[in-house]
Amino acid sequence: MIPEMHLPWLEFSVLLPLIGALVVARLANRDLARSVSIWLSGATLFCAVGEWVDFNTLATFEAHDHWDVIRLIFHRDVFVIDELSAPLLPLAALLYLTTIMTTLRTKMNRFSFHWTLFSESVLLATLACRHQWVIIGLLTVALIPPYLELRQRKQNTRVYVTHMGLSVALMCVGQWLVGREANAANPPLWAGFLLTAGALIRSGICPLHCWMTDLFEKATFGTALLFVTPMTGAYAVMRLVFPIAPAWALQSIAVLSLVTAVYAAGMALVQRDSRRYFCYLFLSHSSLVLVGLEMATPIGLAGALCVWLSIGISLLGFGLALRSVEARTGRLSLGNFHGLYEHIPFLASMFLLTGLASIGFPGTVGFIGTELLVEGAVAVYPLVGLAVVIAGALNGISVVKTYFRVFTGTRHTAAISMSCRTTERITILVMVTLIIGGGLIPQPGVQSRYHAAQALLAHRSPSATNGEPHQPGHDEHSAHQ
């Protein structure tokens, strides 16, 4: 039996934003809609944090809700969290809360609060789910809000639809080909290949990454940020591919991800638009996470899981800082200096701090994770380790270059105050606390991620279940630690 948590945290986390979306959709007053959305996403974050704390107290590999309604009705464990997904839920809830909080009045008419809450519900359901077909279904549903927004903004949707359609089709066919006996020792090669291709397109792997830059071009920054930052593609790789792919296949994916990481880091250096720049920076980092995930070694995997969380926090802060600046100035060109430091020193500090944290600067949350990732990569292929370092160096150069472009240069004289609003200040303080706190006291996080890495590797191996082939989702009552 899978252990139960003390409360139905997962169901609360999924239902609250879903109900909220229905309520907010009926509100004509945008200010009220924003306030209600903040409270609801705050409550969702509370439930997600509760889930994480509760899960940690159980000291188990996986757990489900106390009153699991879906299990009662369908007799299947659909909503089950494990050591991989447990911290991802609060991270995702934080992402939505901070994005809604930092949405200024100037952007309220463009940013849809009810679709945002709907996306949050779908995302949390995806992260709380381990049944392969349901995951694919939820990943497909998550495509709808950005699509509707693009249509509403009268933007061309062909790039988005082509890539995402291909991704969903590949995942569906791949999953259909997976047999019940599939595992890492008995890998279904074609199914694995198709699933990998589908998940990697969703992750934005080179050369099929153009949908991501296109989305940042055409959707609102908030929507693009919320769609991309949770790294659902990497999550799909972990749930659909990782349990059935042999080590050599995973390491081949790692090399492909590495090419994307270096390519995106180089592309970030030549961008002249702030959104495209952010997209490439994110793509480079998310590809580095994939590199570590596919190394299939405890250290490399632990490093990747640490970096997953650290870039989730740091690039969220970085993206929000950029979005807040854009809310004041309009879309930013990186071809010139904007001189905004004196107007918004807090945002400047947050921009630099989060950017440095994303590259694993010492003293920030990403430092140890990046070290572990490089260490794991060097252990498998020394040249891969070198390439990870090169990608990190290029990203570091581009982060400071962008900081200089946005915040330095001839100072503007504004007639009205451009200073940070209260909600933005709160967000900045939360981000700084997480980044510096996680950087100064890294041991608990690293230990927990290493334990998760070991458990994931053990569950991937047939020997971990006394020779019984194991695949989460197919074998609902697998042995747990």
């Binding site: 061309n156 153009c210 071009e217 002249r272 879309r331 150069i397 915040f407 451009m418």
Partner: protein
């Protein structure tokens, strides 16, 4: 209270004083507290004096007790026992680190006092002292590091503060571009350092210097490593040191760094930061003894930097650039001394040169006034007024002059052979991507192409 406990307490004070200073200044800035200049300088003075007194006390105690190696263990910062992964936090007081950390506190203190007056009522006063605290912490951590990871930690802090201080006058694009240039070189150096650190980790199982350089106190350690790996690790560390100390071929950033305020130029590029590369080479000097090709490489690089610095410094038309290249000459000579195994001489040379150069750079802004005061005191014109008649020069002298005037074309070579091809390649990829998304979209796919570089008038938007 035992001697060991006293030393540990003092060691903690040495490391904690700049860390607390940085934390306090950073938190106050973040909370929006308006600190007056006197409060900020008071906090800085307290931090520096505390650290200096504690470091000096350790020096005295070591001299009294005859101890040559005092490790201060903070245990494992991060540890994964199952994977034998440790990030060991250890600081070492020995004959190399103690003089360097005392020097750091003395010069930072001097420059802090100077900057307090120099930057009085300047718009960036608070920013300067925040970055100053970051730099001081980086220097102290780098100087006392007992493991290569700890050294890397401090090394990065020094790099960030240096680059941001070069761009201190950030309303002009010149200093900002130069700051970015410095940062870029530092990132390349840091990448080399990180790879070296991880290679060392793999070779010895941990990053503790005693495992690699032997347990005997500096400079008598004997590295327990084969010549081949020693050359690989040493070459990477040499690349890192060359980037940090502005040695050939990275010397182009040194004059650019002089765009920062004079106090930071003095303490960073004249005194401390520019010597951090040579300090690293001194710290790993037992490694050099293992590999003859590595020593030859170190001597060759030092010699090239010294000759280049000597030539370039003679043709500079402003005092700060002249001093920057003069510093490079001395750094090159110190590197040669390290390559030759003259470790104590290199250490003494480094300390003497740092003090002299700080004095020269701090006096640089008022050198004309000094000259006039001297003339007033003497009551007559001093030398320098007469115009020298032109003398014939040989073609090779002219070529040498042009070479020095163009600073060895080092920046141009890096730009033409590395930066521009790299950027051109990625711009080409960008054009391919544009063509691909245009094809899929059936028309123009990039709204950002229509973005005007100066279209963000704040008043229009708001």
């Amino acid at each position: 209270m035992t001697m060991e406990l006293v030393l540990k307490l003092l060691g903690i004070i040495v490391v904690a004083s700049p860390a607390v200073l940085l934390g306090v200044l950073g938190m106050l800035l973040l909370c929006g507290a308006k600190l007056t200049e006197s409060m900020q300088s008071g906090l800085t003075k307290t931090g520096v004096i505390l650290g200096l007194v504690a470091a000096s006390a350790i020096l005295v105690l070591m001299l009294v007790t005859g101890s040559r190696y005092v490790p201060i263990e903070f245990g494992n910062w991060v540890s994964i026992e199952a994977a034998h992964y440790h990030f060991h936090l250890k600081f070492v007081f020995d004959r190399l680190s103690v003089p360097f950390v005392v020097l750091s506190f003395v010069l930072c203190g001097t420059v802090g006092a100077f900057a307090n007056v120099y930057l009085h009522r300047d718009r960036g006063y608070r920013r300067f002292f925040l970055l100053y605290a970051l730099f001081l912490l980086g220097m102290v951590v780098s100087s006392l590091a007992g493991t290569i990871e700890t050294l890397f930690f401090g090394w990065e802090l020094v790099g960030l503060s240096s680059a941001l201080l070069v761009a201190y006058f950030h309303e002009r694009p010149g200093p900002v571009r130069n700051g970015h240039r410095v940062w870029t070189i530092y990132r390349i150096a840091d990448a080399a350092f990180l790879v070296a650190a991880i290679t060392m980790h793999h070779l010895t199982g941990e990053g503790d210097f005693t495992r690699l350089m032997g347990t005997r106190p500096w400079p008598e350690g004997i590295a327990s490593i084969a010549p081949g790996p020693a050359f690989a690790v040493g070459a990477l560390l040499l690349l890192a040191a060359a980037g940090k100390s502005g040695m050939v071929p990275f010397s182009g950033w040194l004059p650019r760094a002089m765009e920062g305020p004079t106090p930071s130029s003095a303490v960073f590029y004249g005194a401390l930061s520019v010597h951090l590369g040579t300090y690293l080479l001194l710290r790993v000097s037992p490694l050099l003894a293992v590999s003859l090709p590595l020593r030859v490489l170190v001597i060759g690089l030092g010699l090239a930097s010294a000759v280049f610095g000597a030539l370039a410094s003679r043709v500079q038309s402003d005092v700060k650039n002249g001093l920057a290249f003069a510093s490079l000459t001395q750094v090159g000579i110190i590197t040669v001394e390290i390559g030759l195994g003259l470790r104590y001489i290199a250490l003494i040379h480094m300390i003497g040169h740092a003090c002299l150069r700080t004095l020269q750079l701090l006096r640089a802004p008022s050198v004309l006034k000094d000259h006039q005061m001297l003339e007033d005191a003497v009551g007559a014109h001093l030398t320098g007024d007469s115009v020298q008649t032109s003398v014939g020069v040989a073609p090779w002298q002219l070529r040498l002059y042009l070479f020095a005037l163009h600073r060895g074309h080092l920046d141009a070579i890096l730009d033409d052979w590395i930066v521009r091809p790299f950027l051109s390649l990625f711009r080409l990829f960008d054009s391919f991507e544009r063509a691909w998304t245009n094809f899929l979209s059936g028309g123009d796919s990039r709204e950002s192409d229509r973005l005007s570089p100066y279209g963000d008038s704040l008043e229009d938007v708001l």
